[in-house]
Amino acid sequence: VALSAQHVYARTARAPFYGDGYATGQDRLWEAEALRLTATGTVAQELGPGQRGENVQSDPASRIYSGGTRLRILYQRLPAPSRTAVQGYADGINGWISQAEAGGKLPPEYAAFGFRPWPWTTEHVLAIWMKVGGQRGAFGSDELDTLPTSRPGRPSSTLRSPRGSSPIPTGATIPVLQLPFPARLAKSPRNQ
C-alpha cells in the first residue's frame, strides 16, 4: 500500500511508463487484474460464473466491443509515442509480476481464486482504458431500446419513452465494476 503518490523519474521515452506500470503492479495489482478480467470478458473464466451467473451474462458484452483483433488494430494505429507508452506500461506490470511470482508477493486473491496472472499485453492496457471509459461516460444511443414506440420518419430520440421507463436506462448499459472479494480466501485453512 502506497503511503503517498508514486513519482517516476526517467530518461528514455519508455521508462516513465515502465515505472508507472511497475509501481501500479506493486500497489494495485489485484484491482488492475479485476479491471482486466472485466474488460476482456474473462471474469467467469477465472472467478467462476457468479452466484446468479452474472459473470457469464456480463462477459460477452466486453468481448464484443474489446475483442483482441480490434484492439490490435487500434494499437497499431496509435502514434509511435503512444505505442511506446502502452508497451512500456505493459512491460512494467509484467516486470513486477515476474518479481512478485518469484518472491511470493502476488496478491493473495490469485491463490484464493486459483489462477496466476498471465502476461499483460498492449491489448489489455487498451481494453481497460475502453472499459473504464465506458463505465464512467457511456451515454446515448439507446434509441433501439425505445424503437417500438417510434414512428416512421422521425428520429426515435424525439419519442424517447418517459424517463426511467426504458428497460436499459441511459448511462447504465455497462455495469460498474464490483471488485470481487474471494470467498475462498476467507475459507482457506490458512486463515481459520
Binding site: V8, F17, T24, L29, W120, W129, G133, G140, S156, L185
Partner: protein, 125 residues
C-alpha cells in the same frame, strides 16, 4: 483468531466507508449537490485569479469506491513532466497537470448516433 483479523478489518473498513459515503451522498443530495452522473469543470481565467494564472477545477464525479479507481502518479523525464491520477492497469494520466497545462475529464454524455424507424414495402413478386 489472530490470523482472521487482517481479513475482517478491510471488510469492516469497507462497510464503514460505504456507510459514510452513503450518508455523505444523502447529505449532499439534500443540499442540492447530488453526485450521480455527469461531471463539471470550472476554468477561471488569468484576469480573475489572484496570481494571474488560470485555474482549473475538475469535477469528474466518478463516485467513490474501495479501492478507489484512481491512483495518484507522477511521470517525469523524456519530455514528460506530469502528475495526476491514473487508472490501475492502463496507461496515461487521465486527470492531471503538466508544467504549462492542466486537464480533467467529464462524463462522455454525447449522443453520437440516431436511429430512425421507417416502414418499407416489399413488392410482392
Amino acid at each position: 483468531v489472530t490470523r482472521r483479523l487482517p481479513l475482517l478489518l478491510p471488510v469492516a473498513a469497507r462497510a464503514r466507508a460505504t456507510a459514510l459515503v452513503q450518508a455523505d451522498d444523502h447529505q449532499l443530495a439534500r443540499a442540492g449537490l447530488a453526485l450521480r452522473l455527469h461531471s463539471d469543470a470550472i476554468v477561471i481565467g488569468k484576469r480573475l485569479s489572484r496570481d494571474g494564472r488560470p485555474l482549473l477545477l475538475g469535477g469528474p464525479q466518478t463516485g467513490y469506491g474501495v479501492p478507489q479507481i484512481w491512483m495518484e502518479a507522477g511521470l517525469h523525464g523524456a519530455g514528460y513532466d506530469v502528475a495526476g491520477v491514473t487508472i490501475p492497469g492502463t496507461v496515461a494520466v487521465e486527470i492531471g497537470f503538466g508544467s504549462d497545462d492542466a486537464w480533467s475529464v467529464t462524463s462522455g454524455g454525447t449522443d453520437n448516433s440516431d436511429w430512425y424507424c421507417t416502414w418499407t414495402s416489399i413488392p410482392r413478386t
